[in-house]
């Protein structure tokens, strides 16, 4: 109820999807932007709890943590970093295309972003599988080659799976949102007057990418600091 979308019927301004409780499209856009940024702040705090735990244990068990770098696949991790940076580029190009009312490019760049996102998850899956094979999954299947680090290295791998797992979960949600955007773009919803969802989901996508930018050096490169 009351959630009707009223297209404003004015000669110059068409296809503005103004919800009933906003006075102007500008107000609606401002609210959406502030809402998304506020949400991203909660996400920063959410990941912040894990980063804080990471900082504590890395400080306590530096030797064990550094030794795990040998079992991290830097090539795959680095590739994934590149893949995500590319996806951020295509995402922002999709936003630009939507702002320019270019439906074809919007859809093209959304699809490219989704391909990069899926590629990231596939590579991540390959890495997870390798960890399982090497008995590096904490709790269920963990046998560390260096016996004195067995317990403490397990904490690092626990944080690894938790942080990258949470990140991957955010990617999957992001892919769902991108699918939604693609359908909407196909239905010609977005134009120069109404592109808020593309921009908001773009913000979310960039945030998820930035999380990875922090995760990669913290988890993969501890032992590489000489």
């Amino acid at each position: 109820m009351a959630e009707t979308i009223t297209p404003v019927k004015e000669a110059a301004v068409e296809n503005i999807r103004l919800r009933h409780h906003f006075a102007t499209p500008a107000q609606q856009m401002d609210a959406a932007t502030l809402g998304m940024w506020t949400f991203l702040i909660t996400e920063v705090l959410f990941f912040g709890g894990m980063f804080a735990s990471y900082a504590v244990y890395r400080n306590l068990y530096l030797g064990a943590f550094a030794s795990t770098s040998e079992y991290m696949n830097v090539v795959l991790g680095g590739t994934n970093t590149a893949v995500l940076i590319c996806s951020s580029l295509t995402m922002v190009l999709a936003v630009r295309a939507a702002q320019l009312s270019n439906r074809r490019h919007t859809m093209l760049f959304l699809v490219l972003t989704m391909i990069f996102g899926t590629a990231f998850l596939v590579i991540k899956g390959v890495e997870y599988h390798a960890k399982w094979v090497e008995h590096l999954v904490p709790g269920f299947n963990f046998h560390y080659p260096i016996p004195q680090f067995q317990q403490h290295a397990q904490i690092l791998f626990f944080l690894y799976f938790m942080m990258t797992g949470m990140h991957a979960l955010h990617m999957i949600v992001g892919l769902g949102l991108l699918t939604y955007l693609l359908v909407q773009a196909y239905r010609r919803v977005f134009n120069a007057n109404y592109f808020a969802p593309v921009e908001m989901i773009g913000l979310y996508w960039h945030f998820v990418d930035i999380v990875w930018i922090f995760l990669f050096p913290l988890l993969y490169l501890i032992g590489h600091r000489k």
């Binding site: 009933h20 609210a31 502030l34 735990s53 904490i155």
Partner: protein
């Protein structure tokens, strides 16, 4: 206070309002109207309040006898579930999700919150969290205390920790979404002329609450997740036997849960500002100070968590810093108390029911706040830590403060929410009963704690029995004090006298529209031309 183009509401006998505009359960469960969602929340949290209250009744009965009546295990589960339900499912959403959800859009002159569907989503998330927690209750409960301290909760407890922790985890997201909605609404949805310095103080305090909800709750979510993984996979995150750090749990937990204490009091302070101003017929003394003290409390709330950990062996310098910062919170809190008092000074004070609750709040909150200073002091905390002194202290703030404010606010805005007045004599009687029952319950606990009785034990030495019996007697009076309003408020829905748009002659946008309001609150967006609380002489007041 503002010019609103709207027909005179007195004529309409059967006017359309948000309650009668649509009927049927679908119109409620799929509503996006902030007022209807507030009612949904009100019903849900009231149910949870009585479940949590029932637990309290049971363990107070246990404490009638020094050796206890139930087993230690049952007792542990009772007080834990009482804490979890009351904190996460009543106090945190109490005023924000009900009164503020109903009032903030109206107070800022908007048709709805910025994200109406997110608002509905937050209620559904709350309900899912509540069901998960009730599942834990029905299966046998949790015995960790509401704080879920690790490694007991992650390794040793044989109770339903996971279900309860996931319930709290889920409910946290509902709290985040409510806070997010308020922040954006206050920033972006204000009517023309409604500047920040004209916002009612209730809006200010809920805005500050929103900041805490948004910044603190995600950390609670992550600590519960870590706890759950440690319990499932037995990886050492908090359990020192397997390489974990139990103090880390406390740091992360209190990083949310101390600010959460202010989630549980700031909205109440906002209610008191509204009530005191209305029933003193004066502008709130030092508006800017009261507004900014809310923000100061929100900021300080994030740098005091270490005072829960004075006895954990944290560095003494850390403790000194946390002790000092905790004392700082007393400053903005005291500003509020002094300014409410100054508002009443030379005002035309009347003693309607909401004002009785406000008086109760001011007195009890002051006691609760001042005893907090004993606990923030490093030396005295060593003696008082983990005793009934703590229990009494936070119940004076949470129950004597927040629940009093909630009851006061509920009576104050009841005519606006339902269009009906409640029975005046009964409500005053109930307010008195609550005040007496509350003090009888919790004041003896200060003495018990001072004498050294530790909290969370099902049995105690016989010399503490007299005070414990007194406390249990008080609790039964308090329980009746809460049941009476439950009865007469429901009765008033059908039988209460019709309330006009402004039964109190109060200032504020919400009193200038019909009671109950229409779905979109205002026919035309109001234009605000005056500051808040612009109370004129009494003659102008019309019922």
């Amino acid at each position: 206070m503002a010019t609103i183009a709207q027909g005179t509401p007195e004529i309409a006998a059967q006017e359309v309002n948000y309650l009668n505009v649509e009927h049927g359960w679908k119109s409620w469960l799929f509503t996006t109207d902030h007022k209807r969602i507030a009612i949904l929340y009100l019903i849900s949290i009231t149910l949870m309040f009585f479940v949590g209250g029932f637990m309290a009744v049971l363990f107070r009965i246990n404490l009638l006898e020094p050796e206890g009546i139930f087993s230690a295990e049952t007792y542990n589960r009772l007080f834990s579930m009482h804490g979890i339900i009351m904190v996460f499912f009543f106090l945190v959403p109490s005023i924000p999700a009900t009164l503020a959800n109903f009032l903030i859009p109206i107070m800022v002159g908007a048709k709805d919150l910025a994200f109406p569907r997110v608002n509905l989503l937050s209620w559904y998330i709350y309900v899912i969290g509540a069901f998960l927690t009730m599942y834990a209750v029905i299966r046998g409960g949790v015995d960790t205390g509401w704080t879920f301290y690790a490694p007991y909760s992650s390794t040793y407890s044989n109770s339903y920790v996971l279900a309860a922790a996931f319930g709290v985890f889920t409910a946290g997201f509902s709290s985040i979404l409510t806070g997010l909605n308020f922040i954006v609404t206050v920033h972006k949805m204000r009517a023309p002329g409604m500047s920040w310095s004209r916002l009612p103080l209730f809006v200010w305090s809920n805005y500050a609450t929103g900041l805490i909800q948004v910044l603190g709750t995600p950390v609670l979510a992550i600590v519960l997740l870590l706890l759950a993984f440690e319990r499932i996979a037995h990886v050492g995150i908090f359990d020192p036997n397997i390489g974990g750090d139990p103090i880390l749990f406390q740091h992360l937990f209190w990083f949310y849960s101390h600010p959460a204490v202010y989630i549980m009091i700031l909205p109440g302070m906002g209610v008191i500002s509204e009530i005191v101003s209305c029933f003193s017929r004066k502008r709130v003394f030092g508006y800017n100070f009261v507004a900014f003290s809310s923000m100061a409390i929100a900021v300080l709330s994030f740098v005091v968590w270490g005072h829960h950990m004075f006895l954990t062996g944290q560095s003494v310098y850390t403790s000194i810093a946390f002790s000092f910062l905790s004392m700082m919170v007393a400053v903005p809190s005291a500003i509020k108390v002094f300014n409410w008092t100054a508002t009443m000074y030379k005002g035309s004070v009347s003693f309607d029911t909401p004002m009785l609750y406000a008086f109760g709040f001011i007195g009890l909150f002051t006691i609760g706040g001042l005893t907090g200073l004993h606990l923030a002091t490093l030396g005295t905390d060593i003696a008082l830590h983990g005793t009934y002194f703590i229990v009494a202290h936070f119940h004076y703030v949470m129950v004597g403060g927040m629940v009093m404010a909630f009851m006061g606010g509920l009576h104050f805005w009841w005519p606006k929410m339902t269009g009906r007045m409640y029975p005046e004599a009964w409500s005053k009687f109930a307010a008195l009963i609550v005040f007496i029952g509350f003090n009888l319950t919790f004041f003896p606990q200060f003495i018990l704690g001072y004498m050294g009785m530790p909290r969370r034990y099902h049995a105690y030495p016989p010399e503490f029995q007299a005070l414990n019996v007194l406390s249990t007697a008080g609790a039964s009076i308090l329980g009746i004090g809460y049941l009476i309003p439950m009865v007469y408020l429901i009765w008033s829905l059908k039988n209460g006298p019709k309330a006009g748009p402004n039964p109190w002659g109060a200032a504020g946008l919400e009193w200038q529209i019909q009671s109950p309001p229409t779905t979109f609150n205002f026919d035309e967006t109001p234009i605000v031309t005056e500051e808040a609380y612009n109370y004129g002489p009494l003659e102008e007041v019309v019922g």
